[in-house]
């Protein structure tokens, strides 16, 4: 079977991709993507000025999470650290949590994701299009079954436990 180099994501590459390993570059790029989200938020979220403090809070939470991930003695994905920082800062006993939550209401939940998917669409590489043609319909069917099985499996367990 023709496997070719197209399939390989080696560990070095994954290492290089981890945003917490290049904090300087990440800080700059994060600012750019935050601006994109900030503008996308106009339509269904809030006007630019009103959403500004919320976007800055999000930016700060991300950088804080990445910073912690950088120095933490054990590995967790950066998303987990960012998530933990943001949970902690919005807990009822955290100082100023009321103000933080209030500012974040001006940032629309879905509007923050819309640019991510635009980036994702634009960043699909020739490798992925080729692979998609090679692996073909069988893997598409299997993938959809995998997603359905996982989702419904989790939902059934959670439903029974609630």
């Amino acid at each position: 079977m023709k496997t070719s180099d197209t399939v390989t994501i080696d560990n070095e590459q994954l290492q290089e991709l981890r945003p917490e390993n290049q904090l300087g570059k990440t800080a700059l790029l994060l600012a750019v993507v935050c601006v994109a989200a900030w503008i996308a938020n106009i339509v269904n979220g809030a006007p630019l000025l009103q959403a500004l403090p919320g976007m800055i809070v999000l930016y700060a939470m991300v950088m804080l999470g990445l910073g912690i991930g950088r120095v933490a003695p054990f590995y967790l994905p950066s998303v987990a650290w960012v998530s933990l920082v943001s949970i902690l800062m919005t807990l009822p006993f955290f100082p100023g949590n009321g103000w933080i939550v209030e500012q974040l209401t001006h940032v629309n939940f879905l509007a923050v994701v819309t640019p991510v998917l635009a980036y994702a669409g634009l960043a699909l590489t020739g490798r992925e299009f080729t692979m998609f043609r090679q692996t073909g319909w069988k893997l598409v069917i299997v993938s959809l079954l995998v997603f359905t099985g996982t989702f419904v499996g989790s939902a059934v367990v959670a439903h029974l436990m609630l």
């Binding site: 967790l76 933990l84 939940f109 893997l139 989790s154 959670a158």
Partner: protein, 273 residues
Amino acid sequence: MDLKLLLNWRLHLTVILASLLAEWIGILRIPMGPGTLLLLPLFYAFIIGVLLNPHLFSGMNRIIPKSVSNAAGPLILIAILPFIAKFGSTIGPAIEQIIAAGPALILQELGNLGTMLLALPFAVLVLRMGRETIGATYSIAREPNIAIISDKYGLRSPEGIGIMGVYVVGTMFGTLYFALMAGYLASLDIFDVRALAMACGVGSGSMVAACSGALAEAMPGMRDELLAFSGASNLLTYATGLYVSLFIALPAAEWLYKRLSPTALQEARNENL
């Protein structure tokens, strides 16, 4: 990460315009059978992105060069982080409800094994796939799961090809599929919506985003609670999912494959002779 390519202004301007257009189209509801399909702005943004991708139509090279598109991968990881922070901020205020639902949240991780009950037998018995099946169906094929397969079998093995296939399909359509499925199941009213919210947590960042976003749109009254539940579930997936897939799911997939696959059964018989 090549900053010069990643700061390409055409790329970011295209993303902003695509997002504005997608947001402006807004959420569309399409009745389908007993339920309703929800189309979210993030779908349109993805589709616009793919249509403008220079690898698909070479004419688009004039707007965004291929080199920029190739380098843009890390931007997805970074762009999802503000969303993760927004997500976490729904968990903090709802911490009491989440602790109350603790056992359900933890045990639903085991529901991930559902993928094997459905996808593995189908792949082996109907599609007659070989050992690719194990890589393809033991997990939902996100980065940590790839790391496991890469470690145990190597990515050029059949198992590696299987998981990379599902990974690519997931990257391309996973987000859209999760949102469609979640919105539709919610409109059917079979499951507790909070259970669906927890189930949303199994995927990657953008899958969770789309999935819980669709649920929140389907049940606007429970919005905050639903977001908090899927966020908490996703966090647990990161914390425990790796171990569930390494110590439970992968051995279980091997076991089930050996019992279903005709070639594996044949081999086992030959060994016994």
